[in-house]
């Protein structure tokens, strides 16, 4: 039976929602310029950056998939978290790409690309980033709603209206306060989310016990449940693909980069990276443990093929009254911080890069703010129609992987070349964007066509993903070498304009 008490747990959730709205709306008066709206006037310091980055990169959708990894692959499913933490720490320590990016003083990555590869590449990069990002984000709302329906026992018929109200609330403070509201609400949401995640994990460790979790993984997955290299469904292609994917995400995922660019200086931005790095282990391991606990409690027969909903099903009966309220508030916090940041970040690329050709003369701050706010409202509308009212058919994980790789493979290649390869030019950049997008898109088509379905299955998402990164890098090299040499500039001169 569902444990959610509308009086006790509902009150906890209500207080959290009220506090978030008040905080989000209170800071809107500080927004006077586009720079305030997009990068918080570049006044963000380390600890606020850590809270904001952690809250943004953990949504309900993240929790659902990482828990699903726990059910399907045991502890080995948390490998991407370890790889992401390693990538983030190394990038933060060395300043690889992020130092020249932050030093350049740009507001988005495509803006940097314009200095090196010209305005057309900036525009094209903006389109790829927004397409990949928005399609990726399009499914967040429904997955979040499904979690809440399972855990809080909400009538499934009310899912659309509940999530619509929530999205409108998030959109209101994001539209009015931009990055400032996002940072302040992210901070509150980080605290609420963390309390919920830690409390539920502690309860699982105490009530179910470490030995039961380990035995469950051993029984269902054998040694492969502890080692991704020997898991029959994972292996080295999974590890290599995730290493590339996570490094690319650390370098170019727009929500992560926006925190770097909002930091008060480069040193602060790098500290945010090193300080948040280990969070990415928690991001995969903690929900992964929830997934393993679901497998231990419900059993594989009861879970059946629906591994995605095993964790919320388990939590709906496991968390006691009171903790259930904290859990729901935590998950709402996770979802709201992700939605607000994602709306703002893709909106900023649309305004800053895709609309750049329409701003022959600089716009007034008032006009710039109006357009930024309007774009976020339109993105909110898109989310409602695409993510909530439209039911996605097919495999959600493949969908997220493909949309992410379309963007990450080419953008990470462009960024590395832009910062460190003197010979890189617009021919190579255009080739990398096309090759990086074509391979994952082709894989998706092969998967859908009955005649090529088996071929796609034989190739698998990991080889296809690795090929996308290799092809983007190769296209950058070949395209750049094919173009006759222009005036010689050092990479530093080119990046700093």
């Amino acid at each position: 039976m569902n444990q959610f008490s509308w009086w006790i747990d509902g009150s906890i959730v209500g207080v959290y929602l009220l506090g978030t709205m008040i905080a989000g709306l209170m800071v809107r008066k500080y927004v006077g310029k586009v720079e305030h709206f997009i990068v918080a006037g570049r006044e963000m310091n380390v600890y606020l950056g850590i809270a904001s980055l952690a809250a943004t990169e953990f949504g309900i959708v993240t929790c659902m998939y990482t828990a699903q990894n726990g059910v399907r692959y045991g502890f080995a499913g948390a490998t991407p978290g370890i790889l992401m933490a390693a990538a983030m720490f190394l990038v933060g320590v060395t300043g690889f790409c992020v130092k020249p990016l932050r030093d350049s003083g740009v507001m988005t990555i495509p803006e940097l690309f314009e200095r090196r590869f010209g305005p057309r590449i900036r525009w094209l990069a903006g389109v790829v980033i927004v397409l990949g990002g928005l399609l990726n984000m399009g499914v967040f709302l429904r997955v979040g709603g499904e979690f809440l329906v399972q855990v809080a026992g909400i009538n499934p018929d009310k899912l659309e209206i509940t999530m619509t109200i929530l999205l409108v609330a998030v959109a209101v403070y994001t539209i009015l306060g931009g990055m400032l509201s996002v940072l302040v609400t992210d901070f509150l949401q980080f605290i609420v989310m963390s309390i919920g995640l830690i409390a539920v994990t502690m309860l699982i460790l105490v009530k179910i016990g470490w030995k039961t979790l380990v035995d469950t993984v051993s029984t269902h997955h054998g040694a492969g449940g502890f080692n991704p290299f020997i898991h029959p469904e994972l292996g080295w292609p999974f590890v290599l693909f995730n290493a590339l994917l996570n490094l690319a995400a650390v370098l170019t995922w727009q929500t992560t980069i926006q925190r770097l660019l909002a930091a008060k200086d480069t040193r602060t931005g790098r500290k945010v990276y090193t300080g948040t790095a280990f969070f990415f282990v928690c991001r995969f391991l903690i929900p992964g443990i929830w997934g393993i606990a679901a497998l231990a409690t419900l059993g594989s027969t009861a879970i059946g093929g629906d591994t995605l909903h095993a964790m919320p099903r388990f939590l709906s009966t496991f968390a006691p009254v009171g903790l259930m309220g904290i859990l729901v508030a935590a998950m709402l916090a996770a979802d709201m911080s992700t939605d607000s940041s994602y709306m703002l970040t893709w909106g900023s690329v649309i305004y800053n890069d895709i609309m750049a050709p329409f701003r022959k003369k600089p716009w007034s701050e008032k006009k710039g703010l109006f357009w930024n706010r309007s774009i976020i409202a339109i993105i909110g509308l898109f989310l409602l129609i695409f993510g909530l009212w439209y039911e996605l058919k097919g495999d959600l994980w493949a969908y997220l992987g493909v949309t992410g790789t379309i963007y990450l493979a080419s953008m990470s290649t462009l960024l590395v070349a832009c910062c460190y390869w003197k010979r890189a030019n617009n021919w190579g950049a255009a080739g990398a964007i096309i090759a990086g997008a074509a391979i994952p898109a082709l894989f998706l088509v092969l998967e859908q066509l009955p005649t090529t379905k088996e071929l796609a299955k034989a190739i698998g998402p990991y080889y296809s993903g690795i090929a996308a990164y290799a092809a983007a890098a190769l296209a950058m090299v070949i395209g750049s070498l094919l173009k006759p040499r222009g005036p010689r500039l050092s990479t530093k001169e080119a990046v700093n304009g």
């Binding site: 006044e43 600890y47 080692n227």
Partner: protein, 48 residues
Amino acid sequence: MGNHWFWLLLTGAAVLWYSTVTVYVAFKGFADIQTMLKKLGKSPEEKP
């Protein structure tokens, strides 16, 4: 236990690190917000 010690250590570290960092970031992050809003609240002439 075999090679499970790795996951035991990692889980322990994750719970301990996350609990500690949450408390620390809660205090320091609040101070960051105050400083940020103070700076943004100043008129352009007042800024150094």
